[in-house]
Amino acid sequence: MIRVEKLVKRFGDSVILDGIDLEIAQGEIIVVIGPSGTGKSTLLRCLNFLERPDSGRLKLGDLDLDVAAVNAKDMLAARRRTAFVFQNYALFANKTALENIAEGLIVVNRWPKKKAYARALEILERIGLASKANAYPASLSGGQQQRVGIGRAMAAKADIILFDEPTSSLDPEWVEEVLGLMKQLAAERQTMLVVTHEMSFARDVADRVIFMEGGRIVEQGPPSQLFNAPRDPRTQNFLRKVLATSSSGSISANNDALSVSE
């Protein structure tokens, strides 16, 4: 189980996260939505300590941290429990697909190379890229790169995978294959926290949808409730804007539901 308590992050004078409380059960799939600049990505980055939170508590399994007082060792431990999938893939450019996935196992978990590569190859098979094992990132499509990025996160066997807008930099043609892999992981009950603008993914896959604005969690609930009967005016307003600009069929169904609820 993962628990976030009163997490606060400031950049200079501006408060990016204004006391986030969040509990995530094992196997839970959570999607975070909200306008840009409301701290969604920062929340993910704080859980992985890519940003150092200013205050609050973070509980990852048996690791219980006062984030204001973490030392380097705690930080490494927290990172090993929270795998990260980046918007821009961020694959290691000097390593092949196989090496990208095996890197953490070899360097961080200190596995023997042979074992790590065997495990990495298994993962490549699961994500359908075994034939690209020896390809470097530059020769892979955006969709393939992001699937390797997800594979790298899977290898860590972390408590949770954090997805930071995983399809936002992708050309439209690659979005489905990445969402497809995420759905596959969701079906296997991989715990995940996903920041995305893919509303249909949120509706179809999430156990819980969280709406964030101004560094706070405004509203949360199962997707049926949040999309069909949002309570907070800010949620309603956001959904109206997002759904109006989308042309996808599943979304227009949502749009109807939204207008009905008004």
């Binding site: 992985n48 300590f49 890519l50 380097a72 490494l76 431990a77 990172r79 090993r80 795998a83 990260f84 980046f86 821009n88 961020a90 694959l91 290691f92 450019a93 000097n94 390593k95 092949t96 890197e103 953490g104 360097v107 961080v108 470097y136 990132p137 530059a138 020769s139 790298r152 860590a156």
Partner: protein, 224 residues
């Protein structure tokens, strides 16, 4: 009299080539030392280590801002006057010292730029899977920086080989010094300096060929 005495030139080649090992030796020693020194200086600059950073900037400023010839004269003729333990410094040592210090000032900036130029996302990805700063430097950042730095560093090596010719002003009989001696004995200045120019040129071309091969190998991971 012919424009060029071809026979003299052909005879001169093997004579001058005897001095090639000294020329290349000074350049190789200078390059190895300059690589170590400049890598250290670059890391100091990247990490902005307090105190050392300012000293490094002063070092780079001085050795980039003054001519190599002035630096060589300073080490060979100047320093022994004020530092008695240097009275025995020979021309070869002074040359290697000068090349090392002079070129490491330039190389430090190239290496620093290459390290800083590695995309920040590479560092974040390495951190996100739990690597330490040392691990991510060694396995991710430095290999990628090397690829960027190699062409520039090879250029400095080429420059350094040619700069060893200044050693003759310190009385070292290397390739250039030997040519000077031969020419003043035979009075065939034109032939002699054409020959030595061709020898330098050939070495540099050989290195340029090697550089292209090296770059191809480094770029393997980046072909689409």
């Amino acid at each position: 009299m012919n424009l060029l005495d071809i026979n003299y030139m052909l005879e001169l080649v093997p004579i001058l080539l005897r001095y090639l090992p000294l020329t290349l030796g000074m350049a190789a020693a200078g390059m190895v030392l300059a690589l170590m020194l400049s890598a250290g200086l670059a890391v100091i600059r990247v990490l902005r280590i307090p105190g050392l950073n300012a000293a490094t900037m002063l070092f780079i400023s001085f050795f980039r801002g003054t001519p190599l010839l002035v630096q060589l004269f300073l080490f060979y003729y100047g320093l022994p006057q004020v530092m008695s333990f240097l009275t025995t410094i020979d021309g070869i040592t002074a040359t290697i010292m000068g090349l090392t210090l002079h070129f490491s000032a330039y190389m430090a900036e190239s290496i620093r730029a290459a390290i800083v130029g590695v995309d920040r996302s590479q560092t974040e990805a390495a951190l996100s899977i739990g690597m330490t700063n040392g691990q991510l430097m060694r396995r991710i950042v430095l290999p990628q920086a090397t690829r960027v730095a190699v062409p520039t560093l090879m250029n400095y090596f080429i420059d350094m080989i040619k700069a060893t010719s200044l050693a003759f002003t310190l009385g070292v009989t290397e390739l250039m010094g030997a040519t000077q001696k031969e020419a003043s004995g035979s009075f065939m200045y034109f032939e002699s300096f054409v020959v030595v120019a061709c020898i330098y040129w050939a070495i540099v071309e050989l290195l340029a060929w090697f550089q292209r091969r090296l770059e191809n190998r480094f770029n393997e991971a980046y072909r689409r």
